[in-house]
């Protein structure tokens, strides 16, 4: 055994104190649901983690009613300063229980512990700290003096960053004085349920945050509930369309953060070794389960062979395996259904004539796994260049001039993010200006900060999360401001 076969270094599960079954978190307490239950499993070995209640329409109704009461009687009336205190408290508790949350996240989602430990959980704390600071400064949110909260927010989040997406949704909502009913994804409810325990620990007034677990039906009941004032959704474009239709004409506010097919553009003067790292981070971070993943690599034709060659060498050093091992780079695919989708699209890529290359790594016997895969010779008309794979699959296309790079990058129904790699500052600014994407990273990729707004163009959704813009999405001007 060589040095590079690092000895196993698994993070201990001992820190988790999981219950065998979880109820719904409504009005400050865990209650039994009336919609039955489902099992949440670890995608790394398909073992059972816990039984989780499935919220029925009646349960959703109870949760919304609790949120409404809390909004009217407590939260909207509370001073921003006091709301901020609760948010600070939550942020600190997240930091205190960081290791536990990271282990739970990796166990339930399949992502490597080094990502949940070094990226997800620290960002969750950062999000709460950031919006805690906003809570008493709403006059500066851009809506004039004394803006009002919207009311009850119904929030539905995806499985790729379960706890981080929860933070993106809950933190600004609470800072603005709204109360929340949140539905975590069916395959990843665990960290949200531990977060509910944190809310109890923080002594957050009952009903301010309610968490209802369940499948699509629960989410549909929530976003269609007549007493919900604001709907926030992150997930697939197809579901986003349904929600937009359901919400249209109801007076509810809506923000949607949907899919993406981001172009990562590598110019011939790029810092090549860092660009290769950026490509890896862009598409293989979190097994590619990232809506803003750099899934289309646009590389200048003159450096194509060298970039692809270096990329393959680098990918051969990635470690796929136990998500709880601290040296794992690539974890498990979140679910059998997602694995099936990745396989289908990869097979389509091959059938359409692109060249498939897969890193040579051992795949565990049980669980859902997909080795890092690169398609070269991809044409703009291929499905893998158009459709979101949401997995560790990179499509490599080439371009000749900056103008062509911009045209190809924008030639997608999506527009969530993009990356530019070049040593020339003026080129970066000129190209970024013409890219129709909500986030453009220069000489880096997949970097997030609570102060920076995030959101999409076109079918990638509307509205922004993060920063002042993310806060404004949970506020409306005071009556005085409207009549002024």
């Amino acid at each position: 055994m060589g040095f590079l076969d690092y000895a196993p270094a698994p993070e201990s599960r001992g820190i988790l104190h999981l219950k065998d079954a979880y109820g719904l978190f409504i009005d400050g307490d865990f209650v039994d649901g009336t919609g039955g239950s489902f099992t949440t499993i670890s995608p790394a070995d398909e073992s059972r983690i816990a039984e989780v209640a499935s919220a029925s329409e009646a349960d959703v109704d109870a949760a919304v009613a609790a949120a409404r009461r809390a909004h009217t009687k407590v939260w909207a009336k509370m001073s921003g300063r006091d709301r901020g205190k609760y948010l600070f408290r939550i942020a600190r508790l997240v930091q205190e229980r960081a290791r536990e949350l990271a282990v739970a996240e990796s166990l339930d989602n399949g992502k490597p512990i080094k990502e949940s430990r070094d990226v997800d959980v620290p960002l969750v704390a950062a999000w709460f700290f950031y919006y805690a600071g906003w809570a008493d400064k709403l006059d500066h949110a851009g809506l004039g003096e004394a803006p009002r909260s919207l009311g009850v927010a119904g929030q539905v989040i995806p499985w790729n960053f379960p706890l981080l997406m929860l933070a993106w949704k809950i933190a600004p909502a609470l800072a603005g004085g709204n109360t929340v009913v949140l539905k975590p994804a069916e395959t990843t409810p665990l960290s949200a349920l531990i977060f509910a325990e944190i809310l109890q620990q923080a002594d957050l007034p009952p009903g301010v945050v309610n968490i209802v677990t369940g499948a699509g039906g629960t989410g549909a009941a929530l976003v269609r509930h007549p007493d919900v004032d604001k709907v926030a959704f992150t997930g697939s474009t197809a579901v986003g369309r349904d929600i937009a239709r359901a919400v249209a004409g109801t007076g509810k506010s809506l923000t949607l953060e949907l899919g993406g097919k981001a172009a990562n553009i590598v110019f011939d003067d790029a810092p090549i070794d860092q660009a290769v790292e950026g490509i890896v981070n862009g598409i293989f971070f979190n097994q590619g389960h990232v809506c803003c993943a750099g899934s289309r690599l646009l590389v200048q034709e003159s450096v194509h062979d060298e970039v692809v060659d270096r990329l393959k060498t680098r990918l051969s050093t990635l470690r796929l395996g136990d998500p709880l091992d601290k040296n794992t780079d690539i974890g498990a695919i979140n679910s059998a259904a997602q694995l099936e989708r990745i396989r289908t699209l990869s097979d389509a890529g091959e059938a359409e004539g692109a060249q498939r290359w897969t890193a040579d790594c051992a795949i565990p016997d049980s669980g859902f796994w997909f080795a890092p895969t690169v398609f070269t010779g991809v044409e703009a008309s291929h499905r893998i260049a158009r459709e979101e794979v949401f997995g560790p699959v990179l499509a490599v296309l080439t371009f000749r001039t900056p103008a062509e790079a911009i045209a190809k990058a924008n030639n997608t129904p999506y527009g969530l993010s993009a990356g530019i790699w070049s040593d020339k500052g003026s080129r970066i600014l000129a190209v970024a200006d013409k890219l129709r994407a909500g986030v453009v990273w220069a000489n880096t990729f997949n970097r997030f900060d609570p102060a920076s707004p995030f959101g999409g163009y076109k079918e990638s959704g509307y509205g922004r999360e993060g920063g002042r813009h993310g806060l404004a999405a949970y506020l409306k001007p005071s009556r005085k401001e409207i009549t002024r």
Partner: protein, 333 residues
Amino acid sequence: MTTRELSRRTAVDILGGAPDDDTLRRFLYGLPGVDAVGLEQRAAAMGTRSIKTTSKKWALDRIIGLIDLTTLEGADTPGKVRSLVAKAQHPDASDSACPTVAAVCVYGDMVPYAVAALGDRHGDPDEGGIGVAAVATAFPSGRASLAVKLADTRDAVEAGADEIDMVIDRGAFLAGDYSTVFDQIVQVKQACRRDDGTSAALKVILETGELNTYDNVKRASWLAILAGGDFIKTSTGKVQPAATLPVTLLMLEVVRDWHRLTGERIGVKPAGGIRTSKDAVKYLVTVAETVGEEWLTPHLFRFGASSLLNDVLLQRQKMTTGRYSGPDYVTLD
């Protein structure tokens, strides 16, 4: 330790002409740039690898075998050098199975004492011996005439040094006078030759703390390799910052690219500032994941360090006994 034949031919091929200011400048300025944020991020990621149990045990032993145990002080005496040599041969007085270090590194005038003290243990570290490395060329500043630098080198080689750690002329490099830097390395390399036709290995110290930017480090690394250096070394240890993980990673990437281009393997030696086992393990990880595990041998990777050895020994004792001891359980030198 093997040395490279003068790669004059290779340099001409790669530069597209005889090495002069024009060809060197064209080549060095044509290299892809380095993004500092990305490089440091990658180095930091290497530092998060978790090296435990059997891997850690292997790593600690290997680190010892890659150390150039160093004393470079104005106050060095024959007695100090003898003491260093004794430590090199028996790093852990309580464990005869402890590996020996790769080499001792001293000033040129101390080479005879080191050679004498080593006796028949003097030899190639790849074959179980202990080498003698000497700093030369008006170390650490390099501010002397070429004639003095060459004489300095010849003295050390004649006295029995197996490896010469030279410094580049940073002044010339920063002034853009690349051909001067190149020619000096070429001539020092020639001065490493012995009468019997063999040659001392040449480590070229870039003094990255004075070069300041990663782009400069990258260019200086290529320059040193093109001119025939067997090793590229970060620092003298006399300038801060000395070795850092990002700088070493960058130099390893150049070495990897040189290997892709020519098939030739060049060594890397971070020196100065690596004091703990934990840090040293990060360097091993970076080597293994950048150029490959086969680089973790004395003729391709070294640590220039003095205090590192004792920390490794304490960690090593802890792995055997399960207890941490203290600084009095390892010898000073």
